[in-house]
């Protein structure tokens, strides 16, 4: 019975996050990006597809594009390696999807009473707080196990999982380039491999500073750590503690997504369409939507690691605390007595009191807002900056980003050593 409910919950989480959010957003982005480009360039963008005289600003282009992809001839070049040619779009798409498994949309759900202790929400059992018997006030409060409702898989190796998956996402691209048996595709595939491997180095190194600060690689724990207050007032978000790493990681991540200004693998002005030159119909569509899902993923991972993830500034599980002094202080043993909790609850400590379900709602909303904001930033960058040349990309990756991320790592280490 337990396994059945757990699998059912997992299934609902996967359906809701992957299909309800990621795929929907990815599909919507195909249209959004074209509209966005149009707005930046003072034109209307796609808007003519209509059903029964209604246009809704071009929303039906989604349907029209999908239908076109479905109906088009799926062409495989005569001398292509047919198996690999068919496999490659899947290999490119799969990592983009599974990588969402470790993105937390909210903290672990607390079925008991969740109270903030020095910026971290802890989950206590009901009876410990509600007990009115003064005799029990000195008893040690019990902790309640939290439920993992807002993250598909709560891996404690979270960040390593991200690196592993982004590492294998180059296979789809490289295979597509190689198996098409076309010079344009091969060049595109080679460029993709070189670019993604180069930028993965600085991508990983720029995050090492965060690992040192938060002391964990569990993604949800990292977000929880960002809820603590710096100097008792500023949220401890990654962008405040590691501003340089934020820029480095964002640059490297955009380069990983193979989009302009880093669109060397695609390079429509030089390589026709780069690694997917020989793809048509839905196979091409899968490459395309994989790229858009990469945008969503970059938005999600940047907001998780640097923008506080699901944290709303100064919002904790029982309401807003604008200073850390209104929260309970962490005890050295990690245990609390019932009396301490009762005193805290009776004291009306939060500056603004909110019910737990509303806090959860606000947190999910905040996370989605942050993702949308980062997607907007990426689209704006894509339509602002001109493309790099290939050698400039390699220069930027190896001669600028890599030394900077090493320097950032070194300085972080020195500062942490001096502080502790």
């Amino acid at each position: 019975m337990f396994i059945l409910t757990e699998s059912l919950i997992s299934l609902i989480k996967i359906l809701a996050i992957l299909f309800g959010f990621v795929m929907a957003l990815g599909a919507l982005l195909t249209l959004t990006e074209r509209k966005w480009a149009a707005f930046v360039q003072n034109r209307y963008g796609p808007m003519r597809a209509e059903v029964m005289g209604y246009r809704f600003g071009g929303l039906f282009h989604l349907v029209a594009d999908t239908m076109k992809m479905m109906i088009k001839e799926d062409f495989i070049p005569e001398k292509a390696s047919k198996g690999l040619h068919t496999l490659a779009p899947g290999l490119g798409f799969f990592p983009a999807m599974v990588i969402f498994a470790i993105i937390p949309f909210m903290d672990q759900w607390c079925p008991g009473v969740s109270l903030p202790v020095d910026g971290r929400d802890l989950c206590f059992g009901f009876e410990t707080v509600d007990a009115l018997n003064a005799a029990e006030a000195t008893a040690v409060a019990t902790f309640e196990a939290t439920r993992n409702y807002f993250q598909i898989a709560n891996l404690n190796a979270g960040l390593l999982y991200i690196f592993a998956i982004t590492g294998i996402s180059v296979y789809g691209t490289a295979l597509a380039g190689w198996s098409s048996n076309s010079k344009f595709s091969l060049l595109g595939g080679l460029r993709a491999s070189a670019q993604m491997i180069s930028y993965e180095v600085s991508m990983g190194l720029s995050l090492a500073g965060l690992l040192m600060i938060y002391g964990t690689i569990d993604v949800n724990e990292m977000v929880r750590e960002q809820g603590t207050l710096l100097f008792g007032a500023i949220p401890n978000w990654g962008i405040f503690t590691q501003p340089l790493a934020f820029l480095l990681f964002l640059t490297a991540a955009i380069a990983e997504s193979k989009r302009a200004p880093f669109d060397m693998p695609e390079a429509e002005s030089e390589l026709v369409a780069g690694y997917f030159t020989e793809y048509s119909a839905m196979k091409f569509g899968i490459f395309m939507i994989g790229e858009f899902i990469m945008i969503v993923f970059i938005g999600a991972i940047v907001s998780t690691l640097f923008l506080g993830g699901w944290q709303v500034p100064w919002l904790y599980s029982d309401g807003f605390h604008f200073t850390s002094s209104s929260m309970m202080a962490a005890s050295s043993s990690g245990a609390f007595t019932v009396g301490e909790l009762q005193a805290y609850v009776a004291g009306g400590a939060p500056d603004v009191s909110l019910p737990y379900w509303l806090v959860a709602f606000l947190r999910v909303g905040a996370f989605i807002t942050k993702i949308l904001l980062m997607i907007a930033v990426q689209l704006q960058i894509r339509w602002t900056l001109p493309r790099f040349r290939y050698d400039q990309i390699m220069n930027l990756g190896w001669k600028i980003l890599l030394p900077l991320s090493l320097a950032n790592l070194f300085i972080t280490a020195v500062v942490l050593l001096l502080v502790s």
């Binding site: 966005w36 707005f39 930046v40 360039q41 003072n42 034109r43 209307y44 820029l247 704006q380 960058i381 339509w383 602002t384 900056l385």
Partner: protein, 175 residues
């Protein structure tokens, strides 16, 4: 005398310009400004003309589809002199001359076909015509043909666009 050399003053590239970040911010400010101008004052911002519904005024000498001009009695003005088909660089005008029944008229084009897909819209046929019989001032686009054969416009089609010319027709009244 030595050539005069003008040294152009380029903006100095200091550290901030070279670091690329402020320039990215400036570039993004430009694109964001354009975007908000589009979203708030759409009529001012957009240059797009929604073609089938909206049209711009074409310039007076715009070269559209060919047309064959008419005589006063409604017959074709062309005398099949072959000037246009001779000068046509795309060789898209095909004329078969025939003798006219009327004694006052010498020749007329029995067949007059223009292949609009080959036409390069240079207007040389109009320049070459000695009797103002062929013009390109119809203001009509060449439509997108799905069948190549439909792009061969024959005499009757071309005459449907035609009107009477103000120029005097050659012959006894022309002096």
């Amino acid at each position: 005398m030595a050539a005069r050399t003008v040294v152009l003053e380029h903006g100095k590239r200091d550290f901030w310009v070279q670091s690329y970040l402020p320039e990215i911010a400036r570039g993004m400010a430009v694109t964001i400004r354009h975007m908000f101008r589009f979203l708030t004052k759409q009529d001012e911002a957009v240059f797009t003309i929604r073609y089938p519904e909206e049209r711009i005024q074409y310039p007076e000498r715009y070269r559209g589809l060919h047309r064959l001009m008419l005589r006063e009695d409604g017959q074709v003005r062309c005398v099949a002199c072959m000037c246009c088909s001779t000068i046509c660089p795309a060789e898209c005008i095909h004329i078969q001359a025939a003798e006219h029944d009327e004694p006052g008229l010498e020749k007329y084009p029995r067949v007059f076909v223009i292949d609009e897909l080959r036409c390069i819209v240079c207007g040389l046929c109009v320049e070459a015509c000695p009797c103002d019989a062929i013009r390109m001032d119809s203001g009509v686009h060449c439509e997108p043909y799905t069948d190549r054969n439909r792009a061969f416009l024959d005499r009757n089609t071309l005459m449907k666009l035609g009107t009477q010319s103000a120029a005097r027709q050659g012959g006894e009244n022309s002096y």
